[in-house]
Point group: C2
Chain length 214, copies 2
Amino acid sequence: MDLEKSPPQQRRRGEELEDALLEAAWQELELSGFTGLTFDAVAERAHTSRPVLYRRWPDKTALVLAAIRWHYDRDAVDVPDTGSLRGDLYELLRLASDRRVEMVVMLNAQFAGLFSEMSLGEVRERLVGPRTVWSSIVLTRAQERGEIDLRVVPERVQSLPFDLFRHELLMTLTTVSDEFIASVVDEIFLPLVDHYMEANGDLAGQHTRYVPAD
Amino acid sequence: MDLEKSPPQQRRRGEELEDALLEAAWQELELSGFTGLTFDAVAERAHTSRPVLYRRWPDKTALVLAAIRWHYDRDAVDVPDTGSLRGDLYELLRLASDRRVEMVVMLNAQFAGLFSEMSLGEVRERLVGPRTVWSSIVLTRAQERGEIDLRVVPERVQSLPFDLFRHELLMTLTTVSDEFIASVVDEIFLPLVDHYMEANGDLAGQHTRYVPAD
DNA sequence: TCGGTTAGATACATTCGTGTATCTAAAGAC
DNA sequence: GTCTTTAGATACACGAATGTATCTAACCGA
């Protein structure tokens, strides 16, 4: 046999090709990080050659930026709606744990110096943006149910679950455990919410019932 | 003038030389990060040549590891003792903000793939170790003063100030503001401490007096 | 003062990624 | 069916960094 692999003999064009290129670039990002990514590797993964890439993106940062934006654009999550703030947060954080690669890629790019090309604002936007949106949906629903009053709970407290989640992810670079999620929600976040609700004379202690009795 | 710079005509040896090399390596780490660091640049910064470096460290990761360990070994901080938990935390976090470069270097190295050479455990040790020690000194003192009972305050709460600090640093890569420190200590940490102290019937609300009246 | 060690300078081969140029043949428009 | 576009293959020049080899002279101990 000297026909090791039959040539596909089919050429992709337009959007189909471009999607394949960007998907390959994203996968390389996951695998090798920003610094490790090369045009060579991306081309090979996409079963094409470097010139095809260079015709579209002049250099690595342009390619990576395009790949990131492309990936985030098809990032649609339906935010869980379990009927309680606590349940929603549990689900949301588990969901974020499954999607942790995205965040690792962004953090990696951030450190590799992408932020010198991309505006620091945009990096931050991609980094915290989606999670902040998810979080605010959940919090708004909870407010409608009367579980929380966003006017009395400080912003830093509101963003706390995902801030701690992001930190944990950075420290371990692997799946975030259920134990961690439980601790953040029940030992830290909900007690604080109650603290601020009580201080305002509202619905005192409605969450603290979830704190493990020890 | 063709004597642009007079040759030092003095050769360093032993520890003096080695310190200069590692100091140069650390500075390059701060400046260019793990990926950007080159033997060339380190040699030039140390006013010597590459072979001098190669005689000691076979490759970049070895050099960087040595530089990190060397730097951390001379990392001595006297932990503030202001007489109150709140005061100590404020000082400690400001102090950590001044020393933020160290942490950025470690985070950078972590992402650049140093963790494949260094054990993940050691990375984490260097990353969170020193701050955890500082923090526990402050907490222990506070316990001796009766301000906190470390048996009733969950560990995740105890480590919260520096966890949030680390996260903030990662997100901004610049100085951590006093506003942030105040928010973490007064809006998040101390209320939680009070919450757990109250639940235990101890010294109720002794910290909450610090929460801004709004 | 002599002699072994090694700092520091210089040169070199090598490797790896970049970015461009050139050619062919497949895809799609008319 | 013809024509224009461009995917995909291949080759090349270039630069940057690596790691080694070689030489000299400064250093330090005996």
